[in-house]
Symmetry: D2
Subunit: 383 residues, 4 copies
């Protein structure tokens, strides 16, 4: 059994909840889950035990009511048993057309964190998934500074994700082991302040920013070109979608977080810098969760020949990440059993856009996959 | 030094010759050559020592004159020293608007083969590259049948490639070691008749069908999907170009050879059959050597979501293969030194659409690359 | 009131029936119907009074049962009142995996035709829509030859569409006026034999081959380029789909009919010939009725610059034609009232890929639209 | 003879100059010039008599030297006779990495304007083409305010284009007739202040913003959909290029000018608002003048079916506009002869993204073309 808490009951969190329950009901197969049901811990062993949000329109509602906004199909009744609780806000939804409340509105940050830790203990959580709205943030890199910010109630310096990770470390220390999966761009698994804390606290962090959509595909296409020694001259990657995550990304600083994790692959894979335009480009409501991506890559082949690739896609954004989370929560539980406190690069390298720790970069996903299987104790497929 | 003979002085053979000489003249870098200059045998060590064709408009001309039809740039003067010789025809150009002649027009097949073997001895050839027009063919699979066909002068049963490979085996046996690179779809490295012959004769065969263009890219994109356990529902891969190879492929049986090698990747990579349309689709003269490709892939993601990818490319066809050949001739020489008679799957798996031997299938190129590096004695890049 | 008979109760015929009934039930708006409800004859005035097919799996069934195979949504109950009758087969379904029967199986062709005419009289049909499977055919161009073929029971020479049109002329003569809409590639409005017959018989023919999908879009894109005096060098238009029409088009001769009507636009619009590949390219079952199209156009701009356009589309095939038919049946009724026996180029030029009569070619659709409005007595939009 | 002055000797101005001279030398045909050589005034009658810029690296150089930066081919020698003069700057190049100078640096604005008017008189200019860098601007709409700004030397309020147009009106009044072609987004033909001035001063204004690239194509594609009554749900139009114009457009206010003229077509053509993302998206140096465009359009067809179009293009930006200018200068001369002071909607509607006057909107280009021919006294092609 893996007991899971969801932070941010939005599109991704909801598709994750629906999909897991439908699988448990035998209504859905394993497509979109990289390791399907190969792991010793089965998909059917996942149990959602808690959910947090700061949208006043969600807090206090049960999961069934909340997730049905995101999926026209039959929603599993089992979701009626979980109520969405109030989380820590810290300006997560600033500038967005959503009314928000946070535990810290009427108490100190440390009190808010303590309250959450207490709740997690009651839920007996193993894994905490962070799928909140993309944040504008500054990394800490220094554990002392981080702790000081918490103690000083420094609400300008901290983001919700940073506070939640801190809470997770307190919780892990207390119960002897836990996992924090940071599926969003805020640097956590790439921030040494948090890794240090994790190692001391029996916490495992997976992160940062779930690797879905155009970015991992670009990684593999670039690896394909690199292996033929083709010289890439320019890379364009346009992304436009109509879910609230794209809306959030129209804000400059949030966009910048995403641009950073998305474009780091270029140098990592090719070994040289290439002029590129890679970032969430716009928000267009009617596109919904099925974003439109458009990529253009121009490169030099043998004898100076100039080739061009254009890749267009229409891709369901949230199911892609939700499918990865089904693996990540189970791999997290395995990591607890192995006591690999800190982070696990082999997991991050496949599942994350910006795999922690900071000093490690991107590798082609097709290879990362095999190494991840090895770590998980599974037979490689092609190695 | 690697001494190379080209069979089929067409687009690929000509770009190969131009590129190698330009590199030797310091006019061109190593882009488009997968291993660049990492191998102990340098690109500068390649020496073209012979060339064969059956087009009466090419036979007897020097290489400089022939290759300049294919490239508007300055052609290296060094190519004036090689004269295109008459090869074995065996209906290679049947139905094409080209006047053809073959050595076998006025002698028996065995005499023609012997003549060629003698010429190769004078040239001291190490590696024979086959880049003739795509053939309609039937594999042998049985060495005795093959030998019988040669002895009986069975011109209906045999293709030029089969005859050339046979000649290469006689030659290799005689001089103690040689390489035959079959860059075209005719099954040679996948035909046990030839592999058996090769092992007995100190011949190394690389093949079949150089892996360029949409096919290896499809392999990697499908691997990318497979690793996320996305269920592929359909695959479309259109190809259209304006070089004579595309013209040749408008003939049904030639097309079928190509379709076979192109579509074998689907089952190999995904592990299940998918309805697909993958074949050279048409000929359109103004497109020239820069073909247009269009791919459509539809797949199921988590929670039943349906995603779509469309990949369009404008890709120079001949330089792509020519660049691979620059590696292949050098890897061939290494294989001679190691006396790995027969074929080398590690090489084929990266460089060939249909990697021999027959019992071995396709693997994702990104992984094949690393295994090929290992075989070549190079450090892996990401493994 | 317009009383309509459908020949060929397949995908198009079924979407037409469903759409019209849903509109009459107030369940659907007018999207996809070019003239929406601007005509004096309203969409709500259309009444389907008969249906014919030769698929044994459809004959005798009611329309409700047949059309529900094509649409997952709620089907209007009103369709239960019409029974699919047996039509004239004449090898329409030859080579397709469908068991077929025709009235002519156990009677002469003239008897079969007479039987149908009698049925139409009972139905009081105004308009007969032909949406049968694409045929391999030879035009007549000579009325006497056509009549001779009918009289001689020449089943090899005639196609079902030709026989149906002949029947329509008998019927029109008898009742004083009727319309035959030939939405398929068989030349009817472009065959003078039929036009002559029509004029003598109070028949109006609209045709040939409904203008949906990539072809009319290509017409407008080419017009766009022509108006800027850009020189088009090559045109590629790939089409692949998964409905039975695409399956039928995998047969060479049927494909040729379609290729002809599709590619005639190039010279008509540009004024010069351009090397092109324009034809139904393949069949891929999982694509269903939503075909994938891929177009590539390369052209020369000012100062010798070379530009490229690539157009990809995922387009529902049958609704596109069904929407046009909603206009065509009403325009047909107007033409009866005006007694414009023969054909009406103004209507064909907008709605048909190969607008009859034969001596008239294609014009840009955007202009054809305005002329059609003028003919229909509507105000132009932009002229 | 049409005597032409170029304002802004950048990419467009240079390709215009090269193309015209090459045509006069018989080195180039008429591709990319909409009316080719159909007009009574021939392309060969165009004479470039002056050129202005504010880039210190261009001022004082002859045209031959300046234009050769933009075209690798042989440059016509005749361009050596024209020297690039210093223009009015007014912050045109603010924030761009270019050192700029303007006549107004060491004199008042009215003095600068007078100086230019004097120069034009010496040049005996008929037509002044404005192809300066895209500006951030505010329209005037009120003639008095405009005149006051000039008189008050209000350098913050005025842009270079506004000052140049004012100069053109003084010049036209003086010589009895002249043309100002505003090929950039600044509202001039759509600003009543300037139209009023023009009518009083014997000036003809064509504008605003030359209709090249994705925008007019979108207009025609949307017209195509509108005519079939398809309901457009969303429109994406990404543009990225590597010329200095794209660099200039990375500045927010300049971008906004362009966004405005580009997106006005949607409502004009469809008749209803559609959520859209239409704007210059980014700058990527290696793409050069050959921009990459990517469009996505989703629409509802008959029976509620949902279709998608994706249009990608690789389009040479500057030649497209330069080709239009070859017509515009000649149509301008015709307008002088006809004394059509003010503006000519029939010309603007085809050649301009935002056709003046303000109260007139966009119509499908395919129809605008025919109306423009009628105005020009040419036979229509399809009407
Ligand atoms: N494919 C993908 O969708 C994908 C891939 C990688 C990363 N991500 C990341 O996943 C995150 C979620 O994406 P989504 O599409 O579900 O977005 P969403 O906007 O639908 O959901 C985010 C949810 O988080 C809630 N929230 C915001 N701040 C919170 C806080 N402080 N505490 C608790 N809840 C909070 C919001 O109210 C909302 O319900 C984003 O940060 C995104 O960048 C998504
Ligand atoms: N990217 C690629 O271009 C690519 C990739 C994989 C495989 N290939 C294969 O490479 C081959 C060559 O392609 P190409 O583009 O150079 O074609 P091409 O038509 O330009 O050249 C083929 C040449 O072979 C000659 N030839 C034909 N039969 C011969 C014979 N029996 N003996 C000697 N010469 C003969 C022809 O006269 C011609 O000069 C084709 O079979 C093609 O399938 C090409
Ligand atoms: N957008 C479009 O779908 C489009 C556009 C232009 C033209 N068309 C033409 O419309 C026709 C119908 O397309 P579809 O997609 O509905 O195909 P379909 O295969 O779904 O339907 C054709 C139907 O006609 C029936 N049929 C065949 N021969 C017949 C005969 N002799 N008498 C009576 N019925 C007969 C078949 O049994 C089948 O039910 C095709 O000829 C196609 O070329 C379609
Ligand atoms: N297809 C197209 O290229 C296209 C289409 C429509 C409109 N336009 C417009 O045409 C204009 C020119 O485009 P381009 O690609 O040639 O750009 P560019 O940057 O290459 O050239 C602009 C030139 O104008 C000069 N300039 C700037 N301010 C000036 C001033 N005040 N006086 C005189 N010269 C000045 C610059 O120094 C530069 O040489 C832009 O405003 C663009 O928006 C271009
Ligand atoms: Mg890292
Ligand atoms: Mg094999
Ligand atoms: Mg016609
Ligand atoms: Mg206007």
């Amino acid at each position: 059994m893996v007991r899971v808490v969801i932070l941010g009951q939005g599109y991704v969190g909801s598709v994750f909840a629906i999909g897991v329950e439908r699988i448990k009901n035998g209504e859905l197969g394993y497509y979109g889950i990289p390791l399907a049901n190969e792991l010793p811990i089965k998909v059917e062993n996942i149990k959602i035990v808690g959910s947090y949000d700061v949208d006043t329109d969600k807090i206090g509602k049960n999961l069934y009511e909340v997730v049905k906004r995101y999926d026209g199909n039959k929603i599993p009744e089992s979701l009626k048993n979980i109520v969405v609780r109030k989380g820590i806000h810290l300006k997560s939804l600033r500038n967005l057309p959503i009314r928000a409340e946070g535990l810290e509105d009427d108490r100190s940050l440390t009190e808010a964190i303590d309250k959450i830790v207490e709740e997690w203990k009651k839920m007996k959580a193993d894994v905490i998934i962070n799928v909140c709205t993309t944040e504008a943030f500054r990394p800490f890199n220094n554990k002392e500074e981080l702790i000081k910010a918490i103690e000083n109630d420094d609400r300008e310096r901290l983001t919700a994700t940073q506070a939640y990770t801190y809470a997770a470390s307190l919780y892990a220390k207390d119960v002897g082991g836990a996992v924090f999966i940071n599926a969003i761009p805020t640097l956590i698994a790439n921030d040494n302040a948090f890794l240090e804390l994790a190692k001391e606290s029996n916490l495992i962090i997976f992160g940062d920013d779930g690797a879905t959509g155009a970015t991992p595909l670009t990684a593999d296409v670039l690896a394909h070109l690199a292996q033929r020694n083709r010289y890439v001259r320019s890379i364009v990657q346009f992304n436009i979608g109509g879910n609230t995550d794209f809306l959030a990304l129209t804000h400059k600083e949030r966009n910048r977080s995403k641009e950073y994790t998305k474009s780091s692959i270029v140098k990592d894979i090719l070994g040289y810098e290439v002029p590129h335009y890679i970032k969430p480009t716009g928000y267009l409501e009617p596109l919904g969760d099925r974003k439109f991506i458009s990529m253009h890559i121009e490169y030099v082949s043998f004898n100076g020949a100039l080739d061009e690739l254009v890749i267009n896609g229409r891709i369901n954004d949230s199911p892609a990440l939700a499918g990865l989370l089904v693996d990540l929560v189970r791999l997290g539980k395995i990591a607890i059993e192995r006591e690999e406190w800190g982070t696990v690069y082999e997991v991050n390298a496949f599942y994350m856009k910006n795999p922690g720790p900071a000093e490690k970069g991107n590798i082609p996903r097709i290879i990362a996959y095999e190494k991840m299987r090895q770590w998980a104790g599974l037979k490689t497929k092609w190695l």
